[in-house]
Symmetry: C2
């Protein structure tokens, strides 16, 4: 009897969290789709490419492939392919690093910096527009709530 009651309480909790998860997913996809669409139309760039450029812009000293993979939370094989294509387009370079011949540092080229800056300004405006219902205060509050979802990065 007590157990049946307990079960119901935790059921309610898990249903509420499931609804939250579905809403999170839906909201994120909606915004992602819109940003992808605008980036393609206005700058002929894909979202994954933009994400990589943004990460590299943030770290002007360059990043290792593995750093990019961890930061963007995508597989390492995936990063290889995206960087390969960005190199072909001349937006990114790989430079050898003496001391460890396994690794190479990936960096934006001048062209990469220039093109990213053009996109970034528009991108920030779009995000602000798409999230315009959130006041700065609400936005900060929501960010803080979401901060908790970190549950120590699995080692794999």
């Amino acid at each position: 009897m007590a157990q049946a009651a307990q079960k119901t309480v935790s059921d309610i909790a898990s249903k509420a969290r499931l609804r939250l998860w579905l809403r999170l997913l839906q909201s994120t996809r909606k915004i992602e789709t819109e940003l992808r669409d605008r980036l393609r139309r206005q700058f002929s760039v894909t979202l994954p490419r933009f994400d990589v450029l943004a990460a590299l812009y943030r770290k002007s000293d360059g990043m290792l492939m593995s750093e990019l993979s961890r930061y963007l939370m995508v597989s390492n094989g995936n990063v290889t392919g995206i960087i390969d294509r960005l190199v072909i387009d001349g937006l990114v370079v790989r430079t050898q690093r003496k001391g460890d011949r396994r690794t190479s540092i990936v960096r934006l080229t001048i062209k990469g910096v220039t093109e990213f800056q053009r996109m970034a300004e528009a991108h920030e405006g779009w995000v602000s527009e798409l999230l315009s219902e959130f006041s700065p205060k609400d936005a900060e509050g929501l960010s803080a709530m979401l901060d908790g979802i970190q549950f120590g990065g699995k080692s794999r």
Copy 2:
């Protein structure tokens, strides 16, 4: 002068929203990665397949391809491929619909229902675990805040 001040205020707002967006993306990816991993390990199923099964389970009368595409917010061509593979695996069937020969209704098979139910229970538990820092009340509150991100579905 007034304009410079105005600019600064809106800058602060857009930065706060940008931070929110990055946090949303990060949180969602983190949970998605974890769910994908567990679904693969425990049930040998991919996340996109699980999503399709979940949508079809919700609508036991079946769904049109275009309904699935809209509901899951993925392209129609994408749905075709996923359904093709689910049909091969015997989890889903396409049935002709008299009256409109362009469309076919997609439905779970008995096997599809059975297998999905196994997964869904585990999935709900995982989500609840991964979002355990949110009380049911917080979860509902957060869901409600995110509800606003709907900005009327573009017509395209």
